[in-house]
Subunit: 834 residues, 2 copies
C-alpha cells in the first residue's frame, strides 16, 4: 500500500531513525554486499567466489579425515568384494575372533576406546542376556562400535566441515558432498554415491539487496535495515556468505502501516482479531521469531490479510540472562538475523514436483502453482533494526506481559506509528530469486549379510545456511564418525544382518528437499523394505541433557541403549546417559522414565515417518527446559554458528556430541543386526491409550455439543483396546518364535517392520496429502511440534467458532472414524493370519 | 420438463400406442407387481415372502452338497487342529505317499477322476521338470486337485444355488451365505466366517412401481411400460423377484421430449452434439444397452444435460440370428429388461464410506454426497416397450447404419415424436429407495504351512439379480467345487505353502460392494501379504472358447496350466484347453499365443488389482468374438437366467464350467504352493513396451502439437528399457537362487509379490482416487474395458477439442512423467539392494 505524499509532516521524524545507508550498532550496509558472489548463471556454483585453495582442500590433499589410531585405513579390505554368504540360520553366529576376511587379531575389548576409558561402561561388564531380541555375541559388537567412536574425531570432522559455507545448491556444498563420499569409501562402505535432484531453491538477488525501510510522507527512505552481519573473527575473508533472508519469500515491495503480532501464532491473531478488534488486512506485520515454525507465522499473516511480514529475533527469545553476545558469549548479537525458509510444504518436498522425485524427466508445476510458497514478502531482521521499527508503534498497548519482549520499547500493537511519525510507512524490499538448482545427496551402504533387502537408515543433512557449526554439522560430524566406526567393524569382517544406509542430505534448509526427494525416488523399495530411520541433524541445541523424539516402537530400545552409554554430564561421571537424562528430564506422565516426545517435523525424518510410516527417531542434546526460556539456541541460522561457538561454549570436550553419535550409531546397529527387530509394540498400545485419553479430554470441554451431535469416542477406545490385546498376543507369540526357523523369524520381523506402515492412510490428512500418518503429524499450527490424532485435533480446533456446527462436528465424527479404522487395521497386522 | 397442454392435437395418437395398463406381447402389468413382497422395514429380509420350505432347504436338511465319491466327508480330519510344522526347508518336499495325517493310502493316479478319464492328461504323463518354480511332487498334487473336480458336482451346486433369488441384502442371500459357510466347514477349511458390512443399496419402491409413460397433450398417460417379466416355466410361484430397475437411480418423474442416443457412448454424444448439432439438454434420452458399462451411459447423458435416461436391450445387441427367444432358445424375449446398477463409483465401494469399510463405527456421507450416484432418473425396459417409444421418433434420421438396431423402426434421433404425436412427451416414473443394508461375505481359509502370512485369494460373488443362473452362480458353483476339492486334498494331510482365502462376495451387483469393503477392512494386511487374487464370477458368458484377462505376471502360468487341462470343446476331444483356445482365439499381436486381455473392471477383482496392486486374473468361457455380434449373453441380468438356461443351452455337460473351475483352482494351487511364486516379470516388460508403443502411436497423430508443446515420450521408453533390463537381471538371479535358503527364497518371493504393488500410486489417477494402478485402469469411457497408461490416455483423449491447449498438453506431460517414474520405481524393486 503506497500512501506516501498524502500529507506533509516532515519535521521531527521518528526520533532515533537513521539516515539511509547508515545502520545502528555497527552492522554492515550494502558496501559489504558486493562480497557475496552470487554466480550469474543457474546458481552460485563455481565462479570467482570459490578460491583454488578451498577447492583443493575440499577434494584432495588434507581431507580432514581424523587420524585413525591403531589401524591404518589402507589396511581395510574392500568389502564390496568380500560379501559373506549368510551363515546357516540354525548355527550360532560366529564368535568375534572367527570372523572371515579379517587377518588381524580382533580387539574384543576395544583397546582404542582411550578417550573415555572409564566411562564407556555397561556393555563391557554386563553379562550376555539371551532373549528373543539378542542372540550371540551381538552386544560385544555393539560395545566395539561404541568404543570406536571418539570425541576427538568428531571435533576434527566438525572443524573440517565448517571451514567454509555450504549452502545448498552451491559448488562448495557439492565439494563437501564429494569429500564425504570419498571418506565413506575410504571407511569401507560397500557403496557411496552422489544422487542429484533439480529442485526449486530461493536465493537473494545479488544485484538488488533485500531490506526494510521506513518511508516518510514524501516517499523518502528515512531508515533502512542492514543487509549483512559483521563476520565473526577469523572469517573476515570468507566469501560466499549468504545474507540473512527468508527463502521462498516472493518478490515484492509492499508498503503500509506496521502491526506487531507477537509470535504470529494462531492464538496471537485470535487475540488481535477477536479480543482487540485489530485487523491486519492490508498491513505489514512484524512478528518475533520463536515458539513455532516461521512458515506457520507467514501462513497466519497471510490468512489475516497482511501484505508482508517482518520476522525478528527478540532478545527475550534469543538471549540467556547473564550471557554475553557472541563472540564473548553465546547470546545473539543485535546485528544478526535468523535465516530460514518460509514454505508451508506439508511434506511435499520440492515445491514444483509434489509426490515425485525432481529428476530430469519429472513434470514441474509453474512456480505460481508451487506447493507452500507464500504469497506475501517475508524478511528477517536483527533486534537492533527491529527496535527502531517497534519503538514508535502506536495503537493499542500489548494485551499482557506475554506480548512483551525485552527490547526497550512498549510493544504497542499499532497499526502504524504514533505521534509525529503517524504518516510514515514501512516498506519491504524483497527481491529473492527462485531457481531450479541441482542438489546432491550422498548415499552410502553396508549390504546386509542375511537380509540385504531390509534397510536401516541413518540420515542427516549437510547443507548449512552459512558455516553450520551447530546446524547441521554437529550432527554431520557425528554421522561421519559413526560411518567410520562401522567401517572399522567391517574391516574386521563384520557385516550387519540387514542393510545400513547412510545419507548426507542436501537442501534440508530449503524444506527437507534432499531427504524428501530421495524418499520419493525410492518410495517403493522404502515402503517394502524400510525397517527404521534415525535422524542425524544437529546433535546439540543445548548442553544440558538428552532429548529424544521417536515412535513408541523405539522407547524400550532407547532406554536400553542409553543405559549402555556413559553420561557426558558434569556430576554424572560414573553414571549412564540414561541416569543423567532421567534425573534431568523425567517424563511428565511417569517420573520413573525419562521424557520422550512425539515426532513433529522440521528435519529430514519427516518423509520417512510422516509420509511413509517408517519407524523413526531422533536424539540430540538440549537445553534445560525448566530454566532456559530462550527459543532454540540463540545463534541458530546466523553467521555465528561456527566451530568456535561449539568448541568454546557448547561442548568443549565434544563428549555430548559423542554421546549423541553413540546413541544414534547404537540404534542403527541394534536395528540392523538384531535377529528380531527390537521394537516394542506394547508401548505403542500404551501411547495410543494416552493419546486417545488426551483427545477425549479435549473433546469433553464440549460435552453438550458431543451429545447434541452424537459424537462418541467409544469406538476409538474400543479399537485401542483391541490393539492392546493384539500387541500382547503378538509379544507372547514373539517370545515363542523358533529362532532357528528363518521363515518364522522373517514373518514376525515383517510384522514389526510394517506396524508403523499400518498407521499410514494413502488419502492423507485433510488438506495435507503428504502427511499420511493417522497417529502423528506435525501440528497444523507449528510444524516443529508433533500432534497426536492430528485429524481429530484439527477438526476440533476452534470448533466453537466454526460457521456450520453441524458440518464441523460431522468432520470430527469422520476423523474419529478414520482413526478408529486405522488402529483397528493396525491391530489386524499383528495377527498371525487374518 | 412439462409442456403438456401447450397445443391441442388429440386425434390419432401415435399409432400402436396402447392404453394404460395394457402391454404388448404379453408382458405383465402392475397386477403382478403385488407378488414382489418388499418387506416394509429396513430391507426385504424375513417376512412372508420367504416360505418355511425354502428356509429349511437353505440351512439344513438337504444342503445341496454333491455326493462325494470314494471318501466320506465325515472322515475328513479337522484341519484346524492339525497344522503341520513346516518341513525343514533344506529337505526335499515329502513325496505324495508320505504325507502326514492321512491314514488312507493315497490315490496318486486320481482314480476318482471318472468324469473325463481320457481327457485330464498332461500332468499325469509329463515328466517332472525341476525348475526354480516347481519342485518336488508339486505337479502330482495339482493333478490330484484337478481330477477331484467334477462337472456333475458343479451342476449340483448350480441347481441348488439357483433355486431361489439371492438379491443382496435379502434374507435369502444371507441364508445362502450360511449354507456356503456350512459347506466350507464340512469340506474341511480351517475357518469359514461371515463378515458383514452395512452398505447403501437401492431397491424399487414396493408400493410405487417404476415405469415409463407417454403423456398426451392433456397430461393423460396413453402408454405405460410393463413392470414385470413373465416368470419362466417352473418358477411361477417363486416370490421375492425384484422387477427390472436400475439400482441407485434417484427418484424422479421427469417429463420431456425423447432423444435416441444410440449406445450413449462418448462418441455417440460427440456425433449428436458436434456433427448433428442436436442438444440433449432438458431431454429424456433413450439408449440401447451394450458396448459399454451402463453407468458410463448415464454419466454421459448427465454430462449432455439430459433430465432422464431410458435403457433398453435392442434385439440387434441381445439376439443371435436363427435363435429363438427363451424358453425355446437363448435369445432375449421382448418382455424382459436388463437390471443393473448405474453408479460411477470408480472403485470407491460403498458410496457412503469411500476408502473405509462400512462398519458400525464408520462415518457415512449423506446420500446426496454419496460417491457416483447419478443425478438423473434411469430405468430399463424391454424391446417390446422400447419399440413403442422409438417408433414415432421424429427429428433427424440416424447418421449411419451403426445407429440402427433391429427393431422395425427408423431409429430417428428426435427430439420428440413426429407428426400428430409431436406434442406428446415421455415421462419417467422412478421411485427407487436407497437403504443402508447389511450384506454378508463368506470368508474361508486354508492356513499356509510355511508362509501363513502370504495370501492367495479366490473370490466370486454370490448375490444375483434374480436366480443368477449364469451371473454369478455358474462361477459360485465352480468355486464351491474348487473349495470341496481343496478340502479333499487337506483330508489327506496336504496343506499349501501359503494361505488360501476363499471368498463368496455379497452385493457385487450393487457396485462390487462386498469385495471392496472387505478389501478396505483388510487393506493393511492385503497390501503386506497379498500374493494374488483370482476372480470367480460367472464361468460362462458363452460356450465357444476360453477368455482370460490378467496381469502380465500371470501369462506364462495361464499358458502352462491351460496346457494341463483338457479342452471341453467339441472337436478337441484329445486336446488341451490351450490348444482349442489358441486355435479359436489367437492373440492379435502374436498368433502363436492365445489372446489374453487387460483387466478392466465390472467384477470383484477391481479393488484388489486397480486399488491395491495385487496381481489378479479372471477366466471364463465366452462367445465367438468374430461371429457372435450380440453384446454379452442375451439373458444377462433378467429373470430368465436360470439353471435351465445353462443346462439346456450353454453347457449341458457342465464341461466348460468344469474347465473354467479347474483353471481357477489350478491357478490358486500354483500360486499358493509353488516354492517360488510363478510370476513372469519379463512378460510385464514386454507388455509395458507394447503399451508404450500404443500410446505413442496415438500421440503421434498430433505430431505438430507434440513438438509445439515439447511433449516427449523418450523418458517413458527409457524407463521401459530400464524395467526390461531389471526384469532380465531379476530372472537371472531367480534362476540361481539357493532354494535351500529360506530367507533367500522369501526375498525373491517378496519382490515377485510386490512388483504389481509398485505400479500403485497412492495419489490415484486424476479424478479417480481409488483407481491407483498407473499401468491399467478401467476405461473412463467404459468401466468394463481395461485401458493401459490410463493417465496419459485420458489426458490425450479429445485433446484437439480442449479449451486450453497449453494446459491440456501440460497434463499430458505430467502423466507421461508419472508413468515414467512409476515404471522406473517398479524396476528399482527388482534390484537386490537399492
Amino acid at each position: 500500500m503506497d500512501v506516501a505524499g498524502q500529507q506533509e509532516d516532515c519535521l521531527l521524524p521518528l526520533q532515533g531513525f537513521l539516515s539511509p545507508l547508515q545502520n545502528p550498532r555497527g552492522s554492515q550496509g550494502p558496501g559489504v554486499w558486493g562480497r557475496f558472489p552470487l554466480a550469474s548463471g543457474r546458481s552460485w556454483r563455481a565462479g570467482a567466489g570459490l578460491c583454488a585453495r578451498s577447492a583443493a582442500a575440499e577434494v584432495g590433499g588434507d581431507l580432514g579425515v581424523p587420524r585413525v589410531t591403531g589401524r591404518a585405513l589402507s589396511a581395510l579390505p574392500r568389502s564390496r568384494t568380500s560379501h559373506r554368504r549368510p551363515a546357516s540360520p540354525a548355527q550360532p553366529r560366529r564368535s568375534h575372533g572367527q570372523v572371515q576376511g579379517s587377518s588381524a587379531p580382533v580387539d574384543v575389548l576395544g583397546c582404542s576406546a582411550g578417550l573415555f576409558p572409564g566411562r564407556i561402561s555397561g556393555w563391557l561388564s554386563k553379562p550376555l542376556k539371551e532373549t528373543a531380541t539378542s542372540v550371540g555375541p551381538h552386544q560385544n559388537v555393539r560395545g566395539e562400535l561404541l568404543s570406536e567412536m571418539k570425541a576427538e574425531n568428531i571435533k576434527s570432522f566438525l572443524r573440517s566441515f565448517t571451514a567454509l559455507p555450504h549452502l545448498a545448491g552451491t559448488e562448495q556444498n557439492l565439494l563437501l558432498a564429494k569429500k564425504i563420499q570419498t571418506q565413506w569409501k575410504e571407511f569401507g562402505l560397500d557403496s557411496a554415491d552422489l544422487v542429484h535432484y533439480d529442485v526449486l531453491l530461493s536465493y537473494p538477488n545479488m544485484t538488488n539487496a533485500n531490506y526494510i525501510s521506513v518511508m516518510d510522507e514524501h516517499g523518502i527512505e528515512i531508515f533502512k535495515t542492514s543487509y549483512l552481519e559483521p563476520p565473526p573473527e577469523g572469517y573476515e575473508n570468507v566469501t560466499n556468505i549468504v545474507p540473512p533472508y527468508n527463502a521462498f519469500s516472493p518478490q515484492g515491495v509492499p508498503e503500509g502501516e506496521l502491526v506487531y503480532v507477537n509470535y504470529a501464532r494462531t492464538e496471537d491473531f485470535f487475540k488481535l482479531e477477536r479480543e482487540m478488534n485489530i485487523s491486519c488486512t492490508g498491513k505489514i506485520v512484524i512478528a518475533r521469531y520463536g515458539k513455532i515454525f516461521r512458515g506457520n507465522k507467514v501462513k497466519n499473516a497471510m490468512l489475516a490479510g497482511a501484505i508482508g511480514i517482518i520476522l525478528y529475533s527478540d532478545p527475550a527469545d534469543y538471549s540467556a540472562p547473564g550471557v554475553q553476545p557472541y563472540p564473548k558469549g553465546w547470546n545473539l548479537p543485535g546485528t544478526t538475523a535468523q535465516r530460514g525458509n518460509v514454505l508451508n510444504l506439508n511434506g511435499a518436498g520440492d515445491p514444483l514436483t509434489p509426490g515425485y522425485p525432481a529428476k530430469e524427466y519429472t513434470f514441474r508445476l509453474d512456480v505460481e502453482d508451487g506447493v507452500g510458497i507464500p504469497q506475501i514478502p517475508v524478511h528477517p531482521i536483527g533486534y537492533n533494526d527491529a527496535e527502531v521499527l517497534l519503538r514508535y508503534l502506536g495503537g493499542a498497548a500489548p494485551p499482557d506481559a506475554s506480548w512483551k519482549g525485552s527490547l526497550d520499547v512498549d510493544y504497542n500493537i499499532g497499526p502504524g506509528f504514533t505521534g509525529h511519525g503517524s504518516f510514515r510507512k514501512v516498506k519491504m524490499h524483497v527481491h529473492n530469486i527462485n531457481k531450479i538448482t541441482r542438489i546432491y545427496d550422498v548415499i552410502g551402504t553396508i549390504r546386509g549379510s542375511v537380509e540385504p533387502d531390509r534397510y536401516v537408515i541413518l540420515g542427516g543433512h549437510r547443507d548449512a545456511w552459512v558455516f553450520g557449526g551447530i546446524d547441521p554439522t554437529s550432527g554431520a560430524a557425528g554421522l561421519q564418525e559413526v560411518v567410520q566406526s562401522f567401517g572399522k567393524l567391517m574391516s574386521r569382517g563384520w557385516r550387519p544382518r540387514r542393510t545400513i544406509i547412510f545419507a548426507s542430505w542436501d537442501a534440508e534448509e530449503f524444506g527437507l528437499l534432499g531427504s524428501t526427494e530421495w524418499a520419493e525416488e525410492n518410495v517403493k523399495t522404502l515402503q517394502e523394505r524400510g525397517v527404521a530411520y534415525i535422524n542425524a541433524d544437529s546433535s546439540i541445541e543445548g548442553n544440558y541433557t538428552l532429548r529424544v523424539d521417536c515412535t513408541p516402537l523405539l522407547f524400550q530400545l532407547v532406554y536400553k541403549l542409553t543405559k549402555e552409554i556413559s553420561s557426558p554430564d558434569d556430576g554424572f561421571e560414573s553414571k549412564s546417559l540414561y541416569e543423567s537424562w532421567l534425573e534431568k528430564d523425567p517424563s511428565p506422565e511417569n517420573k520413573t522414565l525419562p521424557r520422550i516426545s512425539k515426532l513433529g517435523s522440521g528435519s529430514d525424518f519427516e518423509a520417512y515417518f510422516q509420509r511413509l510410516g517408517i519407524a523413526s527417531g531422533r536424539a540430540r542434546y538440549t537445553k534445560n527446559r525448566k530454566t532456559d526460556t530462550y527459543s532454540s539456541y540463540p545463534m541458530y541460522h546466523t553467521i555465528y554458528e561456527t566451530f568456535e561457538l561449539v568448541e568454546k561454549f557448547y561442548d568443549p570436550t565434544f563428549s555430548k556430541q559423542l554421546a549423541v553419535a553413540q546413541l544414534r550409531g547404537a540404534l542403527v546397529y541394534e536395528l540392523a543386526d538384531s535377529q528380531i527387530i527390537p521394537f516394542n509394540v506394547q508401548d505403542y498400545a500404551k501411547a495410543l491409550q494416552n493419546y486417545a485419553t488426551s483427545i477425549y479430554n479435549l473433546a469433553k470441554k464440549h460435552d453438550q455439543e458431543l451429545r447434541d451431535h452424537g459424537v462418541s469416542f467409544d469406538a476409538l477406545f474400543s479399537a485401542v483396546r483391541n490393539f492392546s490385546e493384539a500387541a500382547s498376543d503378538f509379544h507372547r507369540r514373539l517370545a515363542g518364535v523358533d529362532l532357528n526357523n528363518p521363515t518364522a523369524v522373517r514373518i514376525v520381523n515383517d510384522q514389526l517392520m510394517l506396524l508403523e506402515r499400518a498407521f499410514i492412510d494413502p488419502l492423507g490428512l485433510p488438506g495435507r496429502p503428504f502427511y499420511r500418518h493417522i497417529i502423528f503429524a506435525p501440528s497444523s499450527h507449528n510444524k516443529y511440534a508433533g500432534e497426536s490424532f492430528p485429524g481429530i485435533f484439527d477438526a476440533m480446533f476452534d470448533i466453537e467458532n466454526k460457521a456450520d456446527p453441524r458440518s464441523a462436528w460431522a468432520e470430527v465424527k469422520k476423523q474419529i472414524s478414520i482413526a478408529t479404522f486405522t488402529i483397528q487395521a493396525a491391530a489386524g497386522t499383528l495377527k498371525e493370519l487374518l
